[in-house]
């Protein structure tokens, strides 16, 4: 019976992330529009877009191989699994033993690898540009991410997200500058990974600046729907990851009753909306940087991760 309940909660989490992901994208877009004094589409517009794309016919390029058709499903599956491993409203779920930060990074990394292949597959020049830039950004973002994981793992003594959230909720954490540095670095990496504004513009189709959009330019119909959904899922994943690690308050502990879960769900919803609004604020207050400045941006993230580890080393050795 307990096993069934555990399954139910885990299944609920998987559904929750899937259903909330487009809403988060919608909230970000709506907030950005309001900040620019436009009315903007409704927050449920991403759902409508997805439904419309699902109904449309798929147009495939003549040069597309089988890989091109398979990749949207692969990318979607990997991202969905990764997103549902991050504790959202409740820690210590059934699959939380596999919710390892490094595993999540690996899942996202493989999704990105396949997407880059898809960009190259059709053989258009835009796809090639997009893939090469995406891989350049990834090759800088991943070391930074690994440094962040390293810092967190040194503080907590584990890379499992539920354990981490539990430890960070406990008073044993104290006040650590390393965690602050890791937070800033994680936000920078999240911005780069999600192709948000200083690094890439998710709303543009201008040849010179697009990165992610250039890669998925050849997709249409349900393939495009899946890719857009996985982009939303990835954004949700990073927001929940930051929420779970750095604002874990409200996360219901394993073994607590329904009331705690309800509080956790409410807190999670609040964190998502807050994260979305902050992201929109940040994006409207900053200009997009040139592609060749991205290494500096991500280099700073890597540096912050390194610095966090160094500071941790100091406080440890005393």
């Amino acid at each position: 019976m307990a096993l069934i309940a555990d399954f139910a909660v885990q299944g609920a989490q998987m559904l929750v992330v899937l259903l909330l992901a487009p809403l988060l994208t919608g909230v970000v877009r709506k907030t950005k529009a309001r900040l620019l004094r436009r009315r903007g589409p409704s927050v449920v517009q991403p759902y409508r877009d997805l439904v419309r794309l699902m109904r449309k016919e798929v147009v495939l390029a003549e040069t597309a191989s089988w890989l091109f058709r398979v990749i949207p499903y692969l990318v979607f599956a990997a991202t969905w699994v990764a997103a549902s491993l991050v504790p959202t409203f409740r820690a210590g779920l059934l699959f939380s033993w596999s919710a390892d930060l490094i595993a999540i990074i690996a899942l996202l990394g493989s999704a990105r690898f396949f997407l880059a292949l898809a960009g190259l597959d059709v053989g258009t020049s835009f796809g090639g540009i997009g893939s090469s830039r995406e891989v350049m950004i990834a090759s800088l973002a991943e070391p930074a991410m690994i440094m962040i994981v390293f810092t967190l793992a040194l503080v907590v003594g584990s890379t499992q997200l539920s354990t981490m959230a539990g430890f960070l909720l406990s008073p044993a954490v104290g006040l650590r500058v390393s965690l602050g540095l890791a937070l800033i670095a994680l936000i920078m990496v999240a911005i780069a990974e999600n192709a948000r504004i200083p690094v890439d513009n998710p709303a543009t189709h201008l040849e010179l600046t697009m990165v992610h959009e250039a890669m998925v330019l050849e997709y249409s119909g349900r393939h495009l729907a899946l890719i857009e959904l996985s982009a939303s899922l990835k954004l949700l994943l990073y927001v929940s990851l930051i929420a779970c690690l750095f604002v874990p308050w409200g996360l219901s502990a394993p073994g607590t009753g329904f009331a705690a879960v309800a509080v956790g769900a409410l807190a999670y919803a609040g964190k998502l909306v807050g994260g979305g609004i902050l992201l929109a604020l940040f994006e409207t207050s900053i200009a997009k940087m040139r592609v060749f400045r991205v290494p500096e941006f991500l280099g700073a993230a890597l540096m912050l991760g390194l610095l966090a580890t160094l500071l941790l080393f100091v406080s440890r050795s005393l």
Partner: protein
């Protein structure tokens, strides 16, 4: 592990190192001055915390001096100098951001290794403060090396001095007389540098210090 006193001191001193890195990263003069003001503010907070921990009231004076002179007067004055020199849009650096950051990381690591080895039997709070202070000093030196613009070098020099103050407060404080005289000599140095900036500009029509190298004949 150490309790909240240590954690707060660690956080403030660590933030000081972080702000030093921000200075290194920033290549616009106005933003650089704002970050320098932030640097001084963090220093003031850190010194005030040390005063509270060590129960040494004279350190509060040090903190007030840091706040008044370094966080307000010097940035405002430098701001006005930049406006009057008309160089507020200049961006230039000898080394790029990436190598400078890497060098900075190396220097911080060096400072930690050296200081933690050397000060084995000191109080943890002082050890940690000394390690961070040495990193701030080295980062200030690095900044003076990587900037061509004289104003950038002045900011590097001032942040170096902030590191010295941090070291002095960590080591059970320094006498108030010394502290005040240092503050005033910094202010005087600042005035002299300000006058020199205008002299350099009058002579060479630029505050790019490579012009001086050319004048001395070191560079063709």
């Amino acid at each position: 592990m150490h309790g909240i006193t240590f954690d707060v001191a660690h956080m403030l001193a660590g933030s000081l190192v972080l702000v030093s890195f921000l200075q290194l990263y920033q290549d616009r003069l106005y933003a650089l001055l704002n970050i320098y003001a932030l640097h001084a503010l963090v220093l003031a907070l850190s010194v005030a915390w040390q005063a509270y921990v060590q129960q040494a009231p004279h350190l509060y004076v040090t903190a007030a001096i840091a706040l008044l002179f370094k966080a307000i007067i010097i940035p405002v004055a430098l701001h006005r100098i930049i406006v009057r020199l008309g160089i507020h849009r200049e961006i230039e650096k000898v080394v790029g951001v990436g190598p400078a950051m890497l060098l900075g990381m190396g220097l911080v690591a060096l400072a930690m290794v050296v200081m933690l080895r050397v000060t084995m039997e000191a109080d943890p709070l002082a050890r940690e403060d000394l390690a961070f202070a040495l990193s701030v000093v080295l980062l200030g030196l690095l900044m003076m090396v990587t900037r061509r613009n004289a104003v950038g070098q002045v900011v590097g020099f001032m942040s170096l001095e902030n590191g010295l103050v941090l070291a002095a407060t960590g080591a059970k404080g320094m006498p108030l007389v010394v502290e005040i005289s240092i503050a005033f000599s910094i202010l005087i140095a600042f005035i002299v540098i300000g006058i020199f900036l205008f002299r350099i500009r009058e002579r060479f029509d630029t505050v790019d210090l490579q012009a001086l190298d050319r004048f001395r004949g070191e560079r063709p």
